[in-house]
Symmetry: C2
Subunit: 262 residues, 2 copies
DNA sequence: CCAAGTTTGTGCCTACTAGGCTAAAACTCG
DNA sequence: CGAGTTTTAGCCTAGTAGGCACAAACTTGG
């Protein structure tokens, strides 16, 4: 154990600046701060926005118009405003790509801070995972497009790795939460829903089993209506809906649970 | 959908500064940047370091010596160095409290960025979850101490909420990963291990069931040795060890798994 | 109107996991 | 040696996921 060095500066910040005032920032006198320099950096927020489009998990990307990474694809987002919270900021930035009302889920994913992740200077990025239901087709700016998540274009910065994190998070949460509500339209048949799950999970999902599992968990319920059978025949399908539109964790899923008569 | 406004600045950062050079920072001319200002803020890294001490989940806290929040308790950590990665930074900062070799697990927890979370100016914080095994008693500086997680002292900033996040994360991961390896000593009996789990989970964990579950999952194995029975009698207990010392997810735990013959 | 084809829904079965309970095993102490 | 204590093994129940076969309910074409 070392610990005799510079504890004094740990968790101390006596910054004079940050007065919430203007854009020009005092930060003039370098403080004695061990060989590490002050903890000030540009900060951006990014979002991995997924939607199931034509049975494929797709991610909303933005095509950069200038260097670095000109003509590469990047995640939507931008710089954190000086008086903005992180959630607030990503919502604002996304509103310029996708209508916020179309975002059915948004959660923080991870923060990346490798010193060289941005070629033009130190920039931290906090990434979010956002979901858009499959039934809408948002109007998006000309320089953005949906890309199949399993077949990404050339991407800038570390954004491809962030998409991978987002996919992993989504896949995991489909197992133990009701997050499907954010991918599916308000009402759906079981075969539709199983296609959404298949696209997001990357493997077949039997509609029969999906129905049983989600019904037993109480995540979905029948609406009472049914669709008048497809053009190729077949029994008409019942319509379902998710009962909650907020993220809920499947509690029966916790192992090593408290004893029965506790 | 709005989207006609200032897309141009989204994800664009043409910062001239951040040249990795010195402590004094150019950042002089305010850029036209919508009414939100530039995305530059102080950034600190914090850690929720847990250890099971005397059958209680305990967290390492640091007592602040100066305002704001003088004499309140805060999480260990400090400012991000100007050329440091986030993981690198929290490891460096923690090394001044606890020997890094004693940290058996470290993962990113969450990033907080409420504009008013720091009374002296905008400061983002990326929090980590760290674990120290129960068998060691790290030498810690005089101004730090272990506190029972369920009975926290008066804490500064939003750090109490971060501890709560850490507890939730730890609890969840005890269910579906082998994270116990990071709480337990290299070798242990099942009754010891069940005490660690009880402390972390907050409820009784039957040693019989814990043994079965972890053995079936292949997380633990018998060492072959046994302890020569306690002073109060009883059958001598077999010693176990975790088979891996890296985080692994219990895959059999995923629901909606790929079809059998896929 | 009926037969064939198609899709959805139900029932039955298996496999696996967690967890409660009891009894046996293996020790200490008096 | 017997009583008390602790660990371990065995047996049982409950709950969940998932495969499969068949019934139900439709469309289409003769």
């Amino acid at each position: 154990m070392r610990g005799t060095g510079a504890e004094a500066d740990i968790n101390e910040k006596d910054e004079p600046g940050h007065d919430g005032g203007g854009v020009e920032r005092p930060m003039t006198h370098p403080r004695p701060q061990s060989p590490h320099g002050p903890g000030v950096a540009a900060h951006e927020v990014l979002a991995v926005v997924f939607q199931i489009r034509q049975d494929r998990l797709s991610v909303l990307l933005w095509r950069r118009g200038r260097p670095p990474f000109e003509h590469h694809w990047v995640l939507p987002g931008g710089e954190l405003g000086h008086a903005e919270g992180l959630d607030e900021s990503i919502r604002r930035q996304l509103a310029q790509k996708v209508d916020v009302r179309e975002l059915t889920h948004l959660e923080q994913l991870e923060t990346r801070g490798a010193p060289d992740r941005h070629p033009q200077g130190r920039t931290l990025a906090t990434a979010y995972l956002g979901l858009v239901p499959a039934d809408i087709d948002p109007v998006i700016p000309a320089d953005t497009a949906w890309h199949t998540a399993s077949d990404l274009p050339l991407m800038g910065f570390d954004h491809a790795a962030i998409v991978t994190s987002g996919r992993r998070r989504l896949r995991a949460k489909l197992s133990y939460t009701n997050i499907g509500f954010a991918l599916a339209p308000p009402e759906f048949t079981m075969s539709e829903l199983s296609r959404y799950y298949r696209a997001a999970l990357g493997h077949d999902v039997a509609a029969t089993n999906l129905r049983r599992v989600l019904l037993r968990r109480g995540q979905i319920e029948e609406t009472g209506e049914s669709v008048p059978s497809g053009r190729s025949g077949g029994r008409p399908a019942a319509m379902f809906r998710f009962r909650a539109r907020q993220l809920e964790i499947t509690d029966a899923f916790a192992v090593l649970r408290p004893p029965a008569r506790a």
